[in-house]
Assembly symmetry: C2
Homo-oligomer: 319 residues x 2
């Protein structure tokens, strides 16, 4: 098996640049803002006048966030980008470019590397977010640290701190599905194939709404992430648990595995849906769904009193 | 000893944000372009009209780039930022903001964490490059992956590919000192205290020169990094090894340790000086030194023939 150590650092950079080039069709809209990509001391990006630059970083670490046995390399690469793009979506931003800091043992197979990079750069191409640079380092375990840059019209970024008492609370798509899939894969020893779809178009549509309030993506679970919004905004909330959207057949599937569907929907993380608030004057969920291009459910209200009611406690911490 | 695991993820983020706040005096020039810092899904930066955004990523990994025993935590934190800022310097860019992806075992002491963050954020403050966000993850070894954003007047970024036959070749400061210090610390078991000074002001001055050519920072050694410039530009070079600047007392110190000073100056990495070319019409080194605010030496010429002459082979690879 050929490994990273066989190629050397600069051979590796060339290999990654080549895979990235194949996946990223030149001349696409996004790449016209990339003035200099892989291969120099830094990449150069040109925002348009009136655009704020949004930057976010997230890491996937072997043994913590992924295992080679339970996911294909391409799925891991795709996922590494998707979780970062979800943060951009939560800001209402459009992706511009990404960098990858890859740390890996010298013994990592080149086919695995190719899979990681292919998964990542294919997703990057789909979302108009070309890989423009990064770093390679030797390490005992593999990790992918991605930094994603995006743009949002100046002053329009969606913040966690913008919820106000009286706001209505919404969520895109459905919650609990990722936690259920994980529980299933754990039990069966099967591979986890699903990758979250970052709600980029929905986030950009939200940033344009006059009634916009706070926004966050649901990575740690509804209760935990709503908690972040409430803390940042200095408010509370009342949630109608029955209104929290779940995937079809969810209750039955949970019952079969002996799981509490309410806890899973409120506490399970990694769905990467958008949780947001809008002022009272906002359209109804059905009209919003058309504007955002994704299913939208109204699940509660922001209250003056700093308490979260209606949800079982949940979420998870990285430490 | 209190550790990361005692605090939990959000307690840690608050702790880091507090240390960063103390080090970063609000209202400084740089922070007026930071519209949203630590604590949301992403940070928001506002470039000025006519500015290109420059982005670079570099990682320091325990056991590969640093050891707790041989460097103080604050030195490691400071170094992590410095090596990234050196990449900005090589682009001719001004720092704007940075993000930190920190991966660490739950058992890492809080005092060590504080030292890392303090070293990093103090350097960040000195260079006008506030810490605006990042990521925390559990891992078996500690690593710091920094991404730094900077700005450069549109179209003025210094590239590796801009060397032309006839260009004169220069280097700032002196080379070989970092390799010598490392050899000394290895032999004595002493701590490595020095941190490279990123040549930011010199890089910005270079980007404004009419005679500007290619530029790179010397991280892998003169021979290796000049090699990158030659390859990217499709040219060769002739170097006068005797003209390569070394620290004072260098030859004597090398002799004492049985090291070849020429090899160390040409092959030793991590000096983080700027290696650059200028068109023939450029001022002399003494005049340049005044413009760049740092010692400058002329060490050779770019040639049409794609060969590197006058240097012993050297440099190092990460794999």
């Amino acid at each position: 098996m050929r490994t990273l150590a066989d190629l050397g650092e600069f051979g590796l950079i060339e290999r990654i640049a080549r895979i990235a080039q194949i996946a990223q069709i030149p001349g696409s809209v996004a790449s016209s803002q990339v003035k200099l990509g892989i291969g120099d001391d830094a990449a150069v990006i040109r925002p348009r006048a009136g655009e704020d630059v949004v930057v976010t970083t997230d890491a996937l670490i072997e043994g913590v966030h992924f295992r080679w046995r339970s996911q294909a390399a391409a799925t891991i690469g795709r996922r590494a980008l998707a979780v970062n793009l979800s943060d951009l979506a939560a800001m209402g931003a459009k992706p511009l470019a990404c960098t990858l800091a890859l740390a890996a043992p010298g013994g990592l197979g080149l086919r695995t590397l190719d899979g990681l990079v292919r998964g990542l750069t294919r997703a990057a191409h789909e979302h108009g977010c070309p890989l423009v640079g990064g770093n390679l380092a030797r390490a005992t375990t593999t990790s992918l640290t991605l930094t994603v840059l995006g743009v949002v019209p100046a002053g329009r970024a969606l913040r966690r701190s913008a919820a106000r008492a009286g706001d209505r609370i919404f969520v895109t798509g459905s919650l609990g599905g990722a936690a259920l899939a994980l529980a299933r894969a754990d039990l069966s020893g099967g591979q986890l194939r699903s990758v979250p779809v970052p709600r980029l178009a929905a986030g950009r549509a939200l940033a344009r709404l006059r009634a916009r309030g706070a926004c966050i993506d649901v990575s740690d679970g509804l209760a935990a992430d709503l908690g972040h919004v409430l803390q940042a905004s200095g408010v509370g909330a009342e949630i109608d648990l029955a209104a929290v959207p779940v995937p079809s057949g969810f209750a039955r599937a949970c019952a079969r595995l002996g799981l509490d569907p309410g806890r899973l929907a409120a506490g399970g993380g990694e769905d990467y849906e958008l949780l947001f608030t809008l002022r009272e004057s906002a359209p109804r969920a059905t009209a919003l769904a058309r504007r955002l291009g994704v299913a939208v459910s109204e699940i509660g209200r922001i209250t003056r009193k700093r308490r979260l009611r209606g949800l079982p406690a949940g979420g998870w911490s990285h430490f």
